[in-house]
C-alpha cells in the first residue's frame, strides 16, 4: 500500500546571502563562535545551498516494528499496545509514538523492508551495511555511512566527514567496525567515534603546546606527506590519510560544535535529557555546520525479554527526540537538504517468546526517511495481518540504499574502483530505488 498526502513542508529559503561574508567553507569553519553569534538559522540557510547531508538514527539492537511503525493490535503477534491515528489518513502507528504520529505526513515510512540479516555483528551485518551485497574475497564494498561521507564531503573542508555518536550499550568489542568501514575510500571517511558522551576526546590543544608550535608541526607533516603522495596522486587511500590530519585541526578549531550549552534552553528541553537526545542535538549542530554524515545511536533495543517494558520505556524517548530533531531541522530550513534516516541491524519477531520478548527478525520490518529528496507522507509497502511476511512492495537493503543515494542527488549506479582496479557500484547492478518515496 502506498499512501501519501500532497503536503510539502519547509519554509521559504532565507533571503539573506551571507556567502561573501563567510568567505566559503573555510570562512564558515573559522570558528563556531561565528555560527552562534551570527544566528544559526541564517548560517544554516547558507550551508544548505552548498551541500546535502545525512543524519542516521541507528536503533542499535533492533527496534520492534510492532511497537513503533507497524503495529498489529488485537493480533496474536500484536502485543499489548494499541494503535493510534496519524496525520496520514489510514495509517496507524503505535500509541507509544504520539509526537511522530502527529507529524508523520512529513516523513516516508517503508514498512516492507526485508533483509537476510538477523545478527548484530559479523558478515551478514557487513553485508547489510553495504546494501546486502554478496561480497567475496577482497572485493568488499564500503558501508553506507562511509560512502555517503565520501560522496557528500566538501573539498577543503576542515570538518570531519563522518561522525558517529554512540551510547554505552553497543556491547561488542569493535562493534562500530561492523557497521562502518571505508575500505579503499580511506581513513578520512571512517567515523570519528564518540561513545557515551557529546564530544571527542583530546580536541583541545595541550597547554604545553603553543598554537604556533602546533601549526609548525602540522606544516612539517604536510611537507613530508606531500612528498610521499607526489607519486601516488590517484590513490584515494593516501589522499584520504592526509585529509584526516587536516581535519584534526579543523575539529580543534571548532570544538564548540559539540557544546550544546550554546543552544537556547528551549531547544535543549525539546530534545530532552537523555544521552540520545543530547547527541541528536550535537548531530544537528554538526550538519548545520557542514558535516555531511552523522550517525546517532540509540540502544539497546535487543528485547529478547520484556520487549514491552523496554519499548514502553524507550519508544517515548525516540518519539520525543526524533520529532524534536525533525522540527528543529525544519525550522532552520535544513530539512530540505538533510536526510534523516531511521535504520537498524534488524527488526523483531512477530512471535512473542516465553519471556514476553521478541527475537531477531529480518524478513519484514520498518525504516523511515525524512527530508532531503523524500516525498513526505508516503507509507510504502505493507506486511500481512500478523506482521509475519511482506504483503506488498518488498524493499531490499540495496533498494533502500539506492533510494537514499537518489534522494541526495547521487547516482546510485556510480562506479568506484577498488584498490585492485575492480569496479564497484554504489549499489549492485540493476538495483532500482523506491521511486514512490522520492520527491
Amino acid at each position: 500500500m502506498t499512501m501519501q498526502t500532497p503536503t510539502i513542508c519547509g519554509p521559504p529559503a532565507h533571503a539573506l546571502n551571507r556567502r561573501a561574508f563567510l568567505g566559503g567553507v573555510g570562512g564558515l569553519l573559522s570558528g563556531m563562535a561565528g555560527l552562534d553569534a551570527l544566528g544559526g538559522a541564517l548560517v544554516a540557510g547558507e550551508v544548505k545551498r552548498r551541500h546535502k547531508r545525512v543524519i542516521l538514527l541507528w536503533m542499535a539492537g533492533g527496534l520492534s516494528q510492532f511497537e513503533s511503525w507497524d503495529p498489529k493490535p488485537g493480533r496474536k503477534t500484536g502485543g499489548p499496545f494499541q494503535a493510534i491515528e496519524t496525520s496520514v489518513p489510514g495509517y496507524r502507528m503505535s500509541e507509544l509514538m504520539p509526537k511522530m504520529a502527529a507529524r508523520i505526513h512529513k516523513t516516508a515510512v517503508i514498512r516492507s523492508f526485508s533483509s537476510p540479516n538477523t545478527g548484530h555483528t559479523g558478515p551478514t551485518v557487513n553485508a547489510l551495511m553495504s546494501g546486502d551485497r554478496k561480497d567475496t574475497g577482497n572485493l568488499r564494498t564500503p558501508s553506507l555511512g562511509c560512502l555517503l561521507a565520501r560522496e557528500l564531503s566538501q573539498p577543503g573542508s576542515a570538518l570531519p566527514d563522518h561522525v558517529s555518536l554512540w551510547d554505552a550499550t553497543w556491547p561488542f568489542s569493535g562493534g562500530d567496525k561492523q557497521l562502518d568501514f571505508a575500505l579503499f575510500l580511506g581513513g578520512r571517511y571512517e567515523p570519528i567515534n564518540i561513545s557515551s558522551k557529546l564530544s571527542p576526546d583530546g580536541i583541545l590543544r595541550p597547554a604545553l603546546l603553543s598554537d604556533a608550535d602546533h601549526r609548525a608541526r602540522e606544516a612539517l607533516r604536510e611537507q613530508l606527506a606531500g612528498r610521499f603522495q607526489a607519486n601516488r596522486s590517484t590513490n584515494e587511500s593516501v589522499a584520504s590519510h592526509g585529509g584526516s590530519y587536516h581535519q584534526v585541526r579543523g575539529i580543534m578549531d571548532n570544538a564548540g560544535l559539540f557544546d550544546i550549552s550554546k543552544e537556547p534552553q528551549e531547544i535543549r528541553e525539546r530534545y530532552g535529557h537523555s544521552l540520545f537526545g543530547q547527541q541528536a542535538l550535537v548531530a544537528r549542530r554538526l550538519v548545520e555546520s557542514g558535516v555531511p554524515f552523522v550517525r546517532v545511536t540509540d540502544g539497546w533495543w535487543d528485547a529478547h525479554g520484556e520487549n514491552f517494558e523496554i519499548h514502553a520505556s524507550k519508544v517515548p524517548t525516540l518519539d520525543r527526540v526524533m520529532s524534536a530533531l525533525l522540527e528543529d531541522l525544519e525550522q532552520r530550513d535544513l530539512l530540505r537538504d538533510t536526510l534523516v534516516v531511521t535504520f537498524a541491524e534488524m527488526g523483531r519477531t512477530p512471535q512473542i517468546n516465553a519471556q514476553r520478548g521478541r527475537d531477531h527478525w529480518g524478513a519484514c520490518w520498518s525504516v523511515t526517511l525524512t527530508g532531503c529528496g523524500i516525498k513526505p507522507g508516503v507509507i510504502h509497502g505493507s506486511t500481512n495481518e500478523d506482521g509475519t511476511a511482506v504483503a506488498t512492495d518488498r524493499v531490499t537493503a540495496a533498494e533502500f540504499f539506492a533510494t537514499i543515494f537518489q534522494a541526495l542527488g547521487i547516482d546510485h549506479q556510480k562506479e568506484y574502483m577498488s584498490l585492485d582496479g575492480r569496479p564497484i557500484r554504489l549499489t549492485p547492478y540493476n538495483t532500482e530505488p523506491v521511486r514512490s518515496v522520492l520527491a
Partner: protein, 331 residues
C-alpha cells in the same frame, strides 16, 4: 495439622495454554482459579477436576488482563486497555466497565474485607475504588512522571494493601516506596530502596525494579521483591532480590538474594515462610522471614507472572508463560 514439609513441594497438576497467564485469583475454599491472559481473555481453571483445562470464560478487555480480584461472587479485572471491568460470575456478564486510568493498569489489589479495590497505572497514579459501587474514592499521587534526571517514563509496578486495610503501598521505577492511609489518602511514609534502582550509565534503560510487594501479617513490615541492580543492559536473568523494610522508618531489616527476577510474593499468615516466584530463569524460593536464608528452592519451570495460595497454605498455584500449575506438599 503439621506444617507442610517444604522439601516435599512438587507440581501435582498442570494446565497448558499458548500465551501468558498474567494474573490469577482463587475463589475462596475452592480450587477454582480465574486467570487473566495476554490474549485479553479471562480463563477459568478448576484444579479440583482430575484433568483440569483452561476455558475461556469472559471476554471484554482489549489488551493484557493484568489484575484480578474477587468481591464475593463478582470478579473485577484490570487491563492494559486502561479499563476496570466488574463481572457477575454467576451469569457470566459484565456488571460495569470503568475507564479507570489514562495509561495501562499494572496491578489490582483488594482488601481482605472486600470493600476496597486499589489500582496502579503507568499514568503514575494509584486509585482506590469502592468495590461494590465502582465509584472512585480517591486518587493517590506522589510519583514523578519520568524517572528523575532522565527522560524515561516512570512506572508503578507493584502495590499491596495492608492486612488491616488501613494502608496502601506502591513503588515506582525509581525505587521510591510510598505508603498512604486508605481512609484519608494522607501519605503515611516514603522511603527509597536503592538496590532496585536500575538506571544504566546512559540513563536510557531501567533494568531493575521492585516487581511485587507484601505486607507482613502484623502490617508493620513491607517485603519488596524484584530484581537487583545489575549490568548495563536490560537483561532479565537475575539476580533476584528480597528486602524487608520497617515501612514507617524506612529502615531495611532483611535482604536475601537468589536467582531470577521475582515477580510474585506471598507472606505466610503465620510468617512460616515467604514464597517468591521468578519471572526470569530461577527457582521458586521459600525464604525464612526471621533471618535471611533460603528454606527451600525448586525449579519454577516457567516464567511466572502470578501466584495464589489456599487458606491453609498447603497448596498454591503459579501461572505464567503457557502454563498454570498446582503445587502441593505431599506427606
Amino acid at each position: 495439622m503439621p506444617p507442610p514439609n517444604l522439601d516435599k513441594v512438587k507440581i501435582s497438576k498442570t494446565v497448558a495454554l499458548p500465551g501468558d497467564f498474567l494474573s490469577v485469583v482463587r475463589e475462596p475454599n475452592s480450587e477454582r482459579l480465574w486467570l487473566g491472559h495476554s490474549d485479553a481473555k479471562i480463563y477459568a481453571i478448576d484444579f479440583a477436576e482430575e484433568k483440569p483445562t483452561a476455558a475461556a470464560a469472559l471476554e471484554g478487555h482489549k489488551s493484557y488482563v493484568s489484575g484480578l480480584g474477587l468481591i464475593g461472587n463478582t470478579l473485577v479485572s484490570a487491563g492494559w486497555d486502561r479499563k476496570l471491568i466488574w463481572w457477575d460470575l454467576a451469569n457470566r456478564r459484565v456488571v460495569r466497565t470503568v475507564d479507570a486510568h489514562d495509561r495501562w493498569i499494572r496491578r489490582l489489589a483488594v482488601n481482605r474485607a472486600q470493600t476496597l479495590i486499589a489500582t496502579i497505572s503507568d499514568d503514575m497514579t494509584c486509585k482506590l475504588w469502592d468495590a461494590l459501587s465502582g465509584k472512585i474514592i480517591r486518587k493517590l499521587t506522589g510519583f514523578e512522571a519520568t524517572v528523575p534526571k532522565y527522560d524515561n517514563p516512570n512506572k508503578i509496578f507493584s502495590c499491596a494493601i495492608s492486612p488491616d486495610g488501613r494502608h496502601f503501598a506502591a513503588a515506582d521505577d525509581a525505587a521510591q516506596v510510598v505508603v498512604w492511609e486508605t481512609e484519608t489518602g494522607r501519605e503515611a511514609a516514603r522511603f527509597e530502596a536503592p538496590s532496585y534502582l536500575g538506571i544504566s550509565q546512559g540513563g536510557y534503560l531501567s533494568a531493575s525494579r521492585i516487581c511485587c510487594m507484601a505486607f507482613s501479617p502484623d502490617g508493620k513490615s513491607l517485603a519488596l521483591a524484584g530484581k537487583e541492580r545489575a549490568g548495563e543492559l536490560f537483561v532479565i536473568s537475575g539476580p533476584g532480590l528480597v528486602q524487608i523494610f520497617d515501612w514507617q522508618t524506612g529502615q531495611k531489616s532483611y535482604e536475601q538474594k537468589a536467582g531470577g527476577q521475582f515477580e510474585s510474593i506471598y507472606w505466610h499468615p503465620e510468617s512460616a515462610w515467604i514464597l517468591v516466584a521468578p519471572f526470569a530463569n530461577g527457582p521458586l524460593c521459600f525464604l525464612d522471614p526471621a533471618k535471611p536464608r533460603v528454606l527451600k528452592e525448586t525449579p519454577a519451570t516457567i516464567p511466572t507472572c502470578g501466584l495464589a495460595v489456599n487458606e491453609a497454605a498447603d497448596a498454591f498455584y503459579t501461572v505464567g508463560s503457557g502454563k498454570a500449575f498446582k503445587w502441593e506438599f505431599p506427606a
